[in-house]
């Protein structure tokens, strides 16, 4: 493995490294064009871009749910288990809560552990921890249809937490929720993020949400998707609602918005 120059200096290797990753759909549309990107452990990275810029495709490729047309995705620090899992532990939160309607909230959160062969009795404390970290411990026995949209999304996040993943991938998880619920879930997500020391990759098309949540913001242009801005957001965690009126926050939102605007323009210029 070749090390990039900065690795000799810092001694830290990224969690994920994307080498010129491109994705071309069967229709011929180039969704992503030579994405080159390192994501370090502990970062909260938001992918912000207009619809159809391939940000969901990027997330699915990182999750191994889709394969790049060309280029490679490396996990420089992953402990390779040659037989089974050549990756760190991943969790994925979809745009919809994606719960099994026939199973209780408890059983939905149990699923990833159950698939890994962990018996129910051993899993129960971990499941209850995950549920209480999203405020759903009283709803373990409820069925998904008894819960509101926001609570279902919390259950979906609890299911992602329960495996204690190295990397959490979130694909516009709050897009279908109302503004108030969304803002509360943003705060709760940040709380869990700090407690768990995760790495998060968060796809969104909300400027405000991405600036509020992330430590690093990547703006993608559309067709073909390319990274056109890489903004560090250095405001310290914990962040709370006061951050939303902070001049630094407002300046960053302005910067992200103008990057997004030029992202739409870049789409027209692109070959």
């Amino acid at each position: 493995m070749n090390l990039a120059p900065h690795e000799f200096m810092t001694g830290s290797r990224p969690l994920i490294r994307l080498h010129d990753v491109s994705k071309k759909y069967r229709s011929g549309t180039v969704a992503l064009h030579r994405i080159r990107l390192d994501i370090g452990r502990g970062e909260f990275v938001s992918l912000l871009g207009p619809s159809g810029c391939g940000k969901s495709s990027l997330l699915r490729m990182i999750a191994g749910l889709a394969t790049p047309t060309s280029g490679e995705i490396d996990w420089p620090t992953a402990e390779y288990d040659v037989r089974y899992q050549p990756r760190p532990k991943l969790s994925f939160v979809f745009q919809e809560p994606t719960l099994m309607p026939w199973a209780t909230i408890f059983d939905n959160v149990f699923l990833p552990l159950r698939l890994a062969g962990i018996p129910r009795s051993a899993a129960t404390p971990r499941i209850m921890d995950a549920l209480s970290s999203v405020g759903l411990d009283k709803f373990a026995g409820a069925y998904p249809r008894q819960l509101s949209g926001g609570m279902k999304m919390r259950a979906s996040i609890a299911r992602a937490l329960v495996t204690e993943p190295d990397l959490l991938l979130m694909d516009e998880p709050f897009a279908a929720l109302d503004e108030i619920t969304r803002s509360r879930l943003n705060d709760d997500l940040l709380k869990v993020f700090q407690a768990q020391k995760w790495t998060v990759i968060f796809v969104t098309h909300s400027v405000f949400e991405s600036v509020y949540l992330s430590s690093r913001l990547l703006v993608l242009s559309s067709r073909p998707g390319r990274i056109i801005a890489d903004l560090p957001i250095s405001a310290a965690y914990p962040r709370d609602q006061a951050f939303r009126t902070d001049p630094a926050y407002i300046a960053l939102c302005r910067e992200a918005s103008s990057a997004l605007t030029s992202a739409m323009g870049a789409a027209v210029e692109a070959h």
Binding site: R60, A63, G64, L65, Y84, Q85, L90, S91, F92, F94, E96, T98, M100, P101, W102, A103, L111, P112, R114, L115, A116, Y143, P144, R145, T163
Partner: protein, 265 residues
């Protein structure tokens, strides 16, 4: 199920209608002096039922048994074949046309053939096979639909967590197919009974012991009250199967499926 009508009324209303109709029937038959071999009054049918009760119940048991057996064969066979179809597109392409042909060919038309194949001495086997054929298709096609209509994000999630094939089948595909399977079973339960009756009509040349044969036999004797008694038992059997399937469906789906939900007013 509409919540605005209370349970007692939902049970009572059809019963009142039934009583009223029976009464009207009795009065009309008596006052118009309709001969009992054309249309016997309910009272006479009741008498015939009581009179022949032991033998009619024995026939009921035969029909019930063959119906339940055919229903079980159709359910288990249908689900197993549906799993294979959902797993392999090639298998489905190979099997499905023949399942359709079997379904669209009238059972009466293939009955003589089945009879010849299993031999006249195994009449009950022929009836069982024919009833199973009739009941099989709705279970197969509904279950395939249910197995295939799994939420693609849930499928992605299962593969993300390295689910094995059997884990996906048991934890995802089969629970998802359950409402479809139950809808298929509701149809098939009735069809199994119809299949058993039709098969017995065709097959039973004097050897028949099921309720269908009692209908034919009573018609031959011009014992119309007994024919009505046998018919009443047949209808009750069909109704019982329907109610049992409804109950089972409600029991299994009440927590999560829209079809079994009571909506808040």
């Amino acid at each position: 199920m509409r919540p605005d009508i209370p349970l007692w009324l939902r049970v009572l209303a059809p019963c009142v209608i039934a009583l009223g109709l029976l009464l009207l029937w009795e009065v009309l038959v008596r006052s118009l002096k309709i001969p009992k071999f054309v249309l016997p009054p309910p009272s006479l049918i009741y008498e015939a039922l009581l009179e022949d009760l032991p033998s009619l119940l024995a026939s009921l048991w035969v029909t019930l048994k063959v119906t339940l057996e055919a229903f079980s064969i159709a359910s288990i066979g249908g689900v197993l074949l549906a799993i294979l179809c959902a797993r392999s597109r090639l298998f489905e392409l190979c099997l499905f046309p023949y399942a359709v042909i079997l379904q669209v060919t009238p059972v009466v038309a293939i009955a003589p053939l089945i009879l010849i194949w299993v031999g006249v001495e195994h009449l009950e086997r022929a009836v069982l096979i024919l009833a199973s054929i009739v009941a099989f298709f709705p279970i197969l096609s509904n279950t395939i639909l249910g197995l295939k209509s799994v939420n693609p994000d849930l499928v992605s999630m299962f593969s993300l967590y390295h689910a094995r094939s059997w884990q996906r089948l048991i934890l995802l595909d089969l629970p998802n197919a359950l409402p479809y399977l139950l809808a298929g079973m509701k149809i098939s339960g009735g069809l199994a009974l119809i299949g058993a009756v039709v098969a017995e009509f065709v097959a039973g040349s004097g050897n028949g012991t099921g309720l269908a044969w009692r209908v034919v036999e009573s018609a031959n004797d011009l014992n119309i009250p007994r024919m009505f008694a046998a018919l009443t038992l047949l209808s009750s059997l069909g109704l019982l199967i329907f109610l049992l399937m409804n109950g089972l469906s409600f029991l299994l789906l009440r927590h999560w499926h829209e079809s079994a939900m009571r909506r808040e007013g």
